[in-house]
Amino acid sequence: MTQTQTSEAATTASGAETPPRRTRERRRFPVQLLVFLGPAVVVYTVFMIYPLVDSMRLSLYDDAGAFVGLGNFVHLLTDDLLSARFWNAVWNNLVFFAVHLLVQNPIGLLLAALLTSSRLPGRATYRALVFVPTTLSVVIVGFVWQLILNPVWGFVETPLLGQSSTALITLALMSVWQYVGIPMILFYAVLVSIPEDFLEAARIDGANAWQTFWRVKFPLVLPTVGIVSVITYVANMNAFDLIYAVKGALAGPNFASDIMGTLFFRTFFGFQLERGSSTMGATVATLMFLLILAGVLLYFFGYQRRVKSYEF
């Protein structure tokens, strides 16, 4: 609230004083703008945008440096072995994401709702402790769970990470365990910002806590579910460390936990008898980029618009 007020004050003040400042800036224009913006733009362009564009360009060449157009893409999508690997990785990636969506969001929302339930002493401590796993490296998380799920230690009898039927789901749940703090904190931020009047009005209308949650709070949280899902989707499509740490580059057993990130690593650097290819790696990365883009656009044109129409 305070922030909005100051920013409003700032806009009015700057609006009133714009003309004289503008002329002064125009006179000095290039030098300080270059000094302020130059370093950031250069580092960002050289080490992020250029490599991205260059990777996409490389996907149109073969390893000898000859231009092959969409040849790499055709090869990847039509070669018997490669296309099977590719679609397997895409499918596994979607399963990985679906587990996050269906497990992480409800748990995050439940924890956030409990933390914002009135008069809860110790909420800061709970909030902090739920977040601890998020601060750890995915590599550590992978090994911690690998040890705990190790049948030798005897917490579980079945080798959950060793069977193709359970490996991917288990890895996804490990990742949920680590990152559940993020949706929780985003939902929490929305829930604490709901004006007391809304809840008061619901209470006067005779709504109990359960009804207040579903009828008042939940619709207000819904747009955040969308944002959280997009963040999760981008992170999941890009995941690598956890599976590499636990299952290695081959993402076993029998590629059951192979996702785009591990497929990218193998095509780029090679594995066992197969040699790596930077242009095929670039091809896989470009397809990952297109999948991420497709997901993000789907959200902006589908989900977000739908949610907006519910708001007023």
Binding site: A40, P51, A128, S137, V139, I140, I292
Partner: protein, 272 residues
Amino acid sequence: MRIRDLVPHAILLLYVVIACGPLLMIIMNSLKSRQAIFGEPFAPPTLGTFDVSGYATVFARARFELYFFNSFVVTVVSVFLVLLLGSMAAFALAEYRFRGATVLALYLALGIMIPIRLGSVGILDLLVSLNLVNSLTGLILIYTAMGLPLAVFVLTSFFKQVPTELKDAARVDGAGEYRVYSLAVPLVRPGMAAIAIYTMLPIWNDLWFPLIVAPDESVRTVTLGAQQFLGQFVTDWNAVLAVLTLAMVPMMALYLIFSKQFVRGLMGGALK
């Protein structure tokens, strides 16, 4: 206290056990003898079972003090550069009106949604041609580029809230634009803190870039060092538990000290 009030506590406590229990168990068992690790995994170390042979193996076989130093340098320098370059760019975008400002802001914001990892092939080529493979400088430049988009985006909105009167008063007193910037920076401290925390974690915890552009022993980071060590010593449980503890305790400790600022920073980002 009524029973109803206890329900949230019960559920939250249960979840805290799920979240922190495994980590506590790893730390506890890293200080126990081999038999005790398998025999009584839930028991804290006692005088009879206390054993730090795992740590001895770790320090004898891997140069963890070097890995910590490398991670520390990479993280601190990258975060510093993200804050410095990011705040400079954000200040300019918030303060001056110039042609192309919106386009430039959008261009810089692109990187928030695009994972830099997708450009790995290009990055590796670039670092090879710049002779920066297996160097901390290479990692620092990548992480700086990775952190800048969000830093510029968030700090621009913070700089826009700095009262214009303040900046103009400084200008009237004869301060140059660089001086005005240096006066405005302390006023966006909450934004800087949030960005510092948010940028630090993925850098410290990253495996991908150390693995592909800086795998050499001399520049190895803690995350990569732990990953490689764990791969080799899978069967030596004492050593594995010791490495896990060494790799996770610094970040956990730092987080627990700054957890309030951390969570508030994330929430601040969410509420904007």
